[in-house]
């Protein structure tokens, strides 16, 4: 017990400053953060898939996944849709404002163990940001991986995040990138339909491929079924699970699924692991 007292307090946030804000969609912005203390920032090391508990002082904390790669160290990015009181308050903040950060928290996407393999990303809506952290990481170490395919779907063209960046991805020769929208809008000349409608066009080969997906629960359910019927092994279907995470460290019991804590045992789970969850 005496030893325990010397450990850091897991509920104590560090202070971070917003250094830039970019509009993504009418309700979604990307925030660029840097820890106020330079030494703390230099020591701040995260892996794609991990998240932070972000404090807006006076309103509390909410969990958000990293949207940027640890290979780009000067700052970190989080893309946030305004849905509740805390996120709306955050959207009203600009460069220079301070927030609290606890993290990095949670596990991360398999990375070292998938080197040399083909990679398939499937993102739905606001699910692209956490995958973008991994996508950037793999771009920055591109020779370590085989073919990379990115499939992204959103409700409408307006709801696509990182629009400028998506154009750059589309022009890259070393990846395959396809995007679709559920409902078209004037001026949209691309694919229309749910994400799975891209599968036949993308020429997916399950052998040797590991798939990462992030999106709304309904999308995850359907995509998992599709991948299983295509022949993907359960352990090669990787997703993040979403729950109301409060403490972020497996204490408060908000995010449990069966005996697993999404915040501490996840948020990244393989389909094989998900099948073992009772609830």
């Amino acid at each position: 017990m005496e030893v325990m007292e010397k450990r850091p307090n897991i509920y104590l946030p560090q202070i971070a400053r917003i250094i830039d804000v970019r509009d993504e969609t009418p309700d979604t912005k990307t925030f660029v953060f840097r820890l106020r203390d330079d030494a703390a920032h230099a020591a701040f090391a995260w892996r794609p898939g991990q998240f932070v508990e972000l404090s807006v002082f006076g309103l509390g904390e909410a969990p958000f996944g990293f949207a940027s790669s640890p290979t780009r160290k000067g700052s970190f990015e989080i893309t946030i849709r305004a849905v509740g009181a805390l996120t709306r308050a955050l959207h009203a903040m600009g460069a220079g404002a301070e927030v609290g950060i606890r993290g990095p928290l949670g596990n991360s996407f398999p990375y070292d163990e998938v080197q040399g393999r083909d990679i398939l990303f499937i993102a739905g809506g606001i699910g692209l940001p956490p995958l973008r952290a991994l996508i950037h990481n793999m771009f920055d170490e591109r020779p370590k991986f085989g073919n990379i395919t990115i499939l992204y779907g959103a409700r409408t063209p307006t709801d696509l995040v990182y629009k400028a960046e998506l154009k750059e991805w589309a022009s890259r020769q070393d990846i395959k990138f396809m995007v679709t929208v559920d409902r078209s809008e004037p001026g949209w000349e691309g694919n229309v339909g749910m994400v799975p409608t891209l599968f036949p066009k993308a020429g997916i080969k399950p052998e040797g491929t590991v798939s990462y997906m992030c999106g709304p629960p309904v999308m995850i359910r359907f995509v998992i079924q599709d991948l299983v019927s295509m022949g993907f092994a359960d352990e090669d279907i990787i997703s993040t699970l979403e729950r109301h995470m409060k403490c972020g460290v497996g204490k408060c019991n908000h995010c449990c699924i069966g005996h697993k804590y999404v915040c501490r045992d996840g948020p990244v789970f393989s389909y094989k692991q998900m099948k073992g969850l009772l609830e």
């Binding site: 030893v3 325990m4 007292e5 450990r7 509920y11 104590l12 006076g58 509390g60 609830e279």
Partner: protein, 352 residues
């Protein structure tokens, strides 16, 4: 490291008074009427040693219903300071089921790799003087949970007292902290005899026999069914119809520790506070989008029982989450959703 002493009952007050010099003593105190509650005492005269285990367990002295985690203010930028409770306490007369519940907290909230600094500090500053039961309370089933009526060495107490029936208390000292508590008034204690220990074992066996012969709970059967998802959803639904979502079962449960955290702020200064939450409330799992992975009360009842008795949690936490204190039996206004009743319904696969 157990060592056995004896203490004259007539001099118990002198010992408690000596403990009060360096710590707040929490002890069972009679209230108006027949109730007894664990309270900080001013005088050793307030203590009773004739009590059924109070409906409020002593968990709130280690994990308060509401506690501040940190304060912050703006001075240029934000400054954040943790708020720690450094008070030294002795919980005197805690029953063995509740000692076991604190051991459960040590294994979960206080785990070594990610300790909860607030719990860990209070725990390090709190001595546990247990009082073994010589008779069961009406609803308890510690014999079924292996948490009583007395505990072996290593059970989590610093000192365990047993009323030997005559003029003496047996005093088993089990930890360095327990030795410190004895050292507050060492002249009061003398070595226990072999007869004292034999007497204790006899009392313990007699107490075990006084539990109902047919305890309504068989953890082995209900735990197995809960762990392999072999309970029909319809059974959960029928049981959950008796739940009024009061959260009483989780509030009085000595092993429940769900919590929520909120901020309050004025003029750029604020406080972050945590309060007990409950898996029986829909808000525990409701997400910002409005989606709720446990939308109905049957899911929340299933959750509570799964966390208490599933093999998965026993394996994860190192012990079962139900210590058999029986409080949920007494508190449930639907009368029927205590762990024994639910366990029995699961075992029989029927709900009458």
């Amino acid at each position: 490291m157990s060592r056995a002493l004896r203490l004259d009952k007539g001099r118990l007050r002198e010992w408690v008074a000596a403990l009060q010099k360096s710590a707040t003593v929490i002890a069972p105190v009679p209230l108006h009427g027949a109730d007894v509650a664990f309270q900080p005492i001013k005088s050793a005269d307030e203590i009773t040693l004739e009590y059924d285990n109070p409906q409020d367990s002593p968990k709130r002295f280690l994990f308060p219903q509401s506690e501040d985690l940190l304060r912050y203010h703006r001075n240029g930028g934000y400054q954040v300071e943790p708020t720690y409770d450094e008070e030294k306490r002795v919980i005197f007369g805690i029953r063995c089921c509740d000692v076991s519940a604190i051991r459960f907290f040590d294994l979960t909230l206080g785990v070594e790799d990610l300790p909860d600094a607030y719990y860990a500090r209070r725990r390090a500053n709190t001595g546990l003087v247990a009082f073994a039961c010589n008779a069961p309370c009406k609803e308890c089933f510690c014999v079924c949970a292996n948490t009583g009526p007395s505990l072996p060495s290593g059970g989590g107490y610093d000192i365990q007292l047993t009323d030997l029936g005559g003029a003496y208390l047996l005093v088993e000292v089990d930890t360095p902290k327990g030795e410190e508590l004895v050292a507050a008034a060492p002249q009061l204690f003398s070595p226990a005899s072999a007869d004292d220990l034999a007497q204790r074992d006899a009392l313990d066996q007699a107490a075990e026999k006084r539990f109902p012969r047919d305890p309504r709970l068989y953890f082995s059967a209900s735990s197995r069914k809960v762990s392999v998802d072999a309970v029909e959803e319809e059974l959960w639904r029928r049981m959950a119809q008796w739940c009024v979502t009061c959260g009483g079962c989780t509030n009085i449960c000595p092993t429940c520790y769900c919590f929520n955290v909120t901020d309050a702020q004025m003029n750029g200064a604020g406080v972050r506070t945590r309060r007990w939450d409950s898996c029986q409330f829909p808000g525990l799992t409701r997400e910002a989008s409005g989606h709720n992975p446990r939308p109905e009360q049957l899911h929340r009842l299933r959750r509570r029982i799964f966390h208490k008795i599933s093999y998965q949690y026993v394996a994860r936490d190192g012990m079962q989450g139900c210590v058999g204190c029986g409080r949920c039996v007494r508190v449930c206004p639907g009368i029927r959703l205590g762990i024994p009743e639910v366990g029995e319904a699961i075992r029989r696969a029927e709900w009458k």
